[in-house]
Symmetry: C2
């Protein structure tokens, strides 16, 4: 039997798990609820039990399991220590030591969820074929991951790739969740696009099909822009400006082979790259123009792919 | 006899060269003029001759030379190909192959001068003790280098660490040398500080000792700020704002262990860090506050140190 590994994507609501062959094939995937009771003390035990069940179910020999990778929602140090996972109720402790004890499997790698998703996309998703990518995740918030030479860049305090809090607007008066003003997340997250839309709808008297909605969602705005609504187009243009400026700052620092854009908002498709690109180009120096931009391809599976890749 | 290596810092005016022991001691250093005639075709030959003379002078056995590192003023690919060194008249060719042929020494490493200086500062200068630093060079222009895991980050087109062209001001109307508007270099280079000063002197009617000069230099402005001149202080505060914003963008992307600030302007000393820090702090998320900031220590020798380090 060939060698195997597990990739675990630990989220605030569900734990996604995947069984991979060491040549990178996803053989099986399944989910469990994340039990957050008692400061999340059952979470790693549940994961270990679930892996153990899978090993028994498939009659896998333990010596054929080369390792377990796990992505967690919070900052992670290079040694597998989490600093605080607010969503899980976790404090500071070594996830790798704990999971090693619980599973009896030695090779445990821990990463931040956004970084791990970036690694997954580099490996078998939109960033395939590139060794150095920056992934931007446009979801409930805006996150990201920097992959250098096929490895996650963790940073001194696990904050590398915290792209959502790049400063893009010095005229902003409202505060971002992080306490600063003018962060990319305030314009490019699912909420951010809606906020931008509500603001522009208020300050303009242009006709727009968006005015008929009591409550807007990012998808409605992108769809309206695609179908030719002028004000919706202005909104997405503005969104593209902020995203383009942020990616330009990143490129001036790390000059990646490619950018990969993922997260729920990215389901709007190529319009995101189309609208952002012009602004990116006008904010980078000559050598950085014509960069490769890709949409993410693995969707919700990026985390289990990336986690598996960490141990391979 | 212990093993040795050469570090070469090739500039537009002079070539600096250093002989190092493999444990990192600078044993000798010397300079030559950079002969730029005929599209710089004599430059590498001159360097090879100079190294050869030193080998003879010191009766070094060629097998004791472990390699030659060289920093060049322009973008360099990971394989040692230069893309264009405008200052030298060079086009596209492999510096490593050429220097290998000329010297008969196999191990040749080529890097961009700003990146190489960053590596030097990490090794034996202001960044000593850190494995991941970002160096910012405030000189005639603003350059920089990103060191990840003790290695230079080159980037896809040799443009990683091109910090001088990070976008920091969307109200700028004048163009930067790169063709964009609002680049850090327009405010934080030696020229940039003076430009900022002239602009603020014109738009204010505050008294200032700076008004008595026909022509300003960065040093005059920093000195005036240190001695309590209010307008000079405002100018340096503004300089600090732009620098702080740029470093914040970098930190959100790579979260380095430390920033090292070098170049001619940095001779003004700690006032640079003092003025920049508050603005940095207010533009980064919580995890990135209290970053280590250091002044560069190797001055004009950073390049030869970094070049040597590339082959060690």
């Amino acid at each position: 039997m060939s060698k195997l590994c597990f990739g675990v994507d630990l989220g605030g609501t569900t734990v996604k798990m995947g069984l991979f062959s060491t040549d990178g094939k996803l053989l099986d995937k399944w989910e469990r609820r994340t039990r957050k009771e008692n400061h999340g003390r059952y979470i790693l035990k549940d994961i270990a039990d679930s892996i153990d069940s899978k090993i028994k179910e498939r009659e896998i020999k333990k010596e054929d399991v080369v390792g377990i990778g796990i992505g967690v929602p919070g900052p992670v140090m290079a040694d597998g220590t989490v600093l605080k996972c607010v969503n899980l109720g976790w404090g500071i402790f070594s996830v790798s030591n704990e999971l090693r004890k619980l599973t009896g499997i030695d090779n445990i790698k821990v990463g931040n969820d956004a970084n791990v998703a970036a690694l997954g996309e580099m490996w078998q998703g939109g960033g395939r074929g590139f060794d150095n990518i920056v992934m931007v995740t446009l979801g409930t918030g805006v996150g990201g991951g920097v992959i250098i030479d096929k490895k996650i860049l963790t940073g001194n305090r696990g904050a590398a790739g915290e792209i959502g809090h790049i400063f893009v607007n010095d005229r902003e008066r409202e505060k971002c969740g992080c306490g600063k003003r003018g962060c990319l997340e305030q314009y490019a997250s699912a909420k951010g696009v809606v906020r931008l839309a509500n603001r522009m709808l208020k300050s303009s008297d242009k006709k727009s099909c968006l005015r008929k909605y009591d409550r807007l969602y990012a998808k409605i705005i992108f769809d309206a822009a695609k179908s030719g609504d002028e004000l919706a187009n202005d909104i997405i243009e503005k969104f593209g400006y902020y995203l383009g400026v942020a990616l330009a700052q990143i490129a001036q620092t790390v000059d990646p082979d490619a950018f990969v854009i993922g997260g729920g908002v990215s389901r709007a498709g190529n319009i995101i790259i189309d609208k952002m690109k012009r602004h990116y180009e006008s904010h980078v120096m000559f050598a950085l123009k014509d960069k490769a931009f890709r949409l993410a391809e693995l969707g919700n599976d990026a985390g289990i792919y990336g986690s598996a890749k960490m141990v391979l």
